[in-house]
Symmetry: C2
């Protein structure tokens, strides 16, 4: 009988996270202070993050040990299974061998707890009483609620109003794990009040929610802030995904030619691809790593590489990133986790150096891919995950045309159980393409006054 799943025991769980910057020839450029335009040091982040996470943000060590307490909690759902997608291969009639790593087995239903658990852990170590964060689609807010619950830390989530209203079950999931969830903008913060003054019916945005969460953390010494993607330490934590996958591909007696993951801020993609990229950087392998982003928010494929703010209102340091401009407003696609204007610093440098690839997909193509996958393999994917599936299908068809038997691995980062409304909209033909025009992008970029990169 063929093997569908490659499963590791808890004892085989990796003991270190992998820091790819140690293997990169061109290191990422430093973040800049928006006033002085000088590189900022770790101390600038101290009001928002515990020191151990700041150390991880700037570390040059290649391997960062995962604390036993974190590995113990990872064991609630990790190691996650790696599947051979026999049924999808059959439907696509492709000579390609397709594998996927399934992160939807976590209690929150996605890869996000991989960083929520260590972030909550380090905050707890340093006596933090409360963590604030923002959430759009709700995956990250759920994960942090779950993690904080375990460590007895209060969790306060600023959830973008449109999501708060349209995704009541995600909110309820956070409540079940004991988190307070606010519909953002609120009137608890200066940032929120200033928005509501201008527009009492504001639908909110991720940028506003970030501002509210940061303001709240900065104004209380017992409160810190947590981010679910983009930053180096977040990407670092996610590398447990790819490290497990390397072992599991070895169990399968195979090695990918192509690794694919959805792309929002970068942690999903980094998580699965960096441990394979290490084999390229250090052992001369040639594994193609492809980031799959939405056509409605195409920072990697159509953005520019320059300094920009990480948030919409300009409260963060300037980061060297592929960006559409921090004022870019992506269309309201259902893959809320991918609606972010920029790409994390490390991933941006890798793309600049042509060490990774990027591709964009329209949401209709993604839902078509997601339904095809659900029918074949059973698991109903989150809309974010369907972006990777769309890329995989293209590559599998290319393999069929060329007659080559490629091995493709992708990150099935989460299930779609809390996204069924989006499937309903898709089946009811309510979804439209959201292509961005060249004018939209040029317009957004023309407003940037942040430093360009030579």
């Amino acid at each position: 009988m063929k093997t569908r799943k490659f499963v590791l025991s808890e004892k085989e769980m990796p003991e270190h996270w992998y820091n790819i910057t140690a293997s990169m020839t061109n290191k990422p450029l430093p973040p800049l202070h928006p006033g002085t335009l000088q590189p900022i040091g770790p101390e600038a982040l101290a009001p928002l993050f515990p020191m151990e996470l700041i150390k991880q943000e700037v570390t040059s060590e290649k391997w960062v040990e995962i604390p036993d307490e974190v590995r113990d909690l990872y064991a609630i759902w990790r190691p996650t299974p790696l599947y051979r997608a026999y049924e999808l291969e059959k439907v696509l009639d492709t000579p390609a061998k397709i594998y996927y790593k399934y992160e939807g087995v976590s209690p929150a239903g996605s890869h996000k707890p991989n960083t929520a658990i260590p972030q909550a852990y380090y905050n707890k170590q340093e006596g933090v009483k409360r963590i604030t964060t923002e959430t759009g689609a709700g995956q990250w807010g759920s994960a942090l609620s779950f993690a904080c619950q375990h460590f007895g830390i209060e969790c306060e989530v600023y959830m973008v109003k449109v999501s708060y209203d349209s995704k009541p079950y995600r909110k309820l999931m956070m409540n079940t794990w004991g988190a307070k969830v606010h519909s953002s903008p609120t009137n608890h913060t200066q940032a929120g009040r200033s928005i509501l003054d201008m527009d009492p019916n504001s639908p909110g945005s991720l940028g506003i929610a970030i501002s509210e969460a940061i303001e709240r953390a900065a104004s209380d010494e017992h409160t810190k802030y947590a981010l679910g993607s983009v930053l180096n330490h977040v990407l670092l934590h996610q590398t447990i995904v790819g490290q497990e996958a390397v072992k599991q591909m070895e169990m399968a007696g195979d090695m990918p030619d192509i690794v694919v993951a959805p792309f929002g801020g970068g942690s999903n993609f980094a998580g699965i691809s960096f441990p394979f990229l290490r084999l390229n950087l250090e052992e001369g392998k040639h594994i193609r790593c492809i980031a799959a982003e939405p056509a409605s928010c195409p920072k990697l494929t159509r953005g520019v590489f320059r300094y920009d703010f990480g948030d919409t209102v300009g409260m963060t340091p300037l980061l060297p990133m592929y960006t559409l401009g921090h004022n870019f407003v992506p269309a309201p696609i259902h893959a809320g986790g991918l609606r972010y204007h920029g790409a994390g610093v490390i991933v941006s440098q890798l793309l600049k150096d042509k060490l990774i690839e990027a591709r964009s997909h329209d949401q209709l193509e993604c839902f078509q891919a997601g339904v095809l996958f659900a029918k074949a393999e059973g698991i109903i994917p989150a809309p974010e995950a369907s972006h990777a599936i769309a890329t995989v299908i293209q590559e599998a068809i290319a393999a069929k045309i060329s007659g080559e038997s490629k091995t493709i691995l992708f990150n099935l980062c989460g299930h779609g159980h809390f996204d069924m409304q989006s499937y309903e909209d898709y089946f009811a033909n309510k979804l439209v393409k959201h292509e961005v025009t060249a004018e939209d992008i040029a317009d957004s970029l023309s407003k940037l006054t942040t430093p360009e990169i030579a």
Copy 2:
């Protein structure tokens, strides 16, 4: 580091289902023809079920081989993990060791695909083109949709109208897997039309939906019917759960003193408990097996053991069962999977012979237990599963009081991702106790004209 999950490889998946009737001294009484009151033979079931399933329904063999094709599809999610619930133990401050088998990892989110896959397989073997079924909460309809999709069989689900209206995402899940879902009563069947004639706004019931599904199957030679619990072959298929659990408890170097499962028609409970009961029946062990049922539908704890119909409108053979009467209408609790008036034949005989125990819980106690579990262990349980958790908590507290270190195992049969509305209602204090009065039960039973059992 302690081990949280005990995981089997696909190669270690059991190769046989276990038929407990082969180990029972008192065999279950035969089903009777409602007209003649004579035992019916297997041929009476031929219009509804494929012959291989009918053979399994009446087999006296102890071990029934699982076809390779079925084991191959089981491998999409099986073997499922067995967890040690360290966090729950900590919260309860109990000397008891608590383990749970987690069936929510299946694509449909519950244990139901364990029988949906083989039922679809045997139907396919015999050339069946379409399968009809009913569904209440939607777990069974989802599982069968998923299974039929794999075998290219059309699936037609009659979903109780109140569920159809209140659980749109369950319906959508079935649609995603290609099933047709009807809001029952429909006007496609005689049974449905007769109900609508009397009450055009009928909210439907499981009994009506069963009648519609059976009528449709009986009137078309290419169409068969499938049931998700109660029948012997369904219980048989679920024993893979307990057989894996026996192996996993051995891996953990432990053996349960108590095994607990939710009880609707019996397949959930049978699945995990029968392989442990085998150790009692054949090897002189004394493992207590407890069925946890809703206080609003207490057939095991407050029903009578007599012949009754399996459906509400009286289309099935008479079955020897613990029953509240086939006209009993359970309160609209959220654990829709447990709202069934009777208990399967095998389980009823075991209870009659005091080889198993039963206990009932009010829904408020169950939600309290479910939220406690979700906070401790992360996984949000289905309302059905919370009934088992309520029993486990009672036993864990009893162990604390007596100071004994009991080992408790329960079946966490599914996640609650499609039941978040019920959690919302619970948090909003919208749920009430639904105790059944002695008068209600006496009234329902007084209407029975079916044969009593000496």
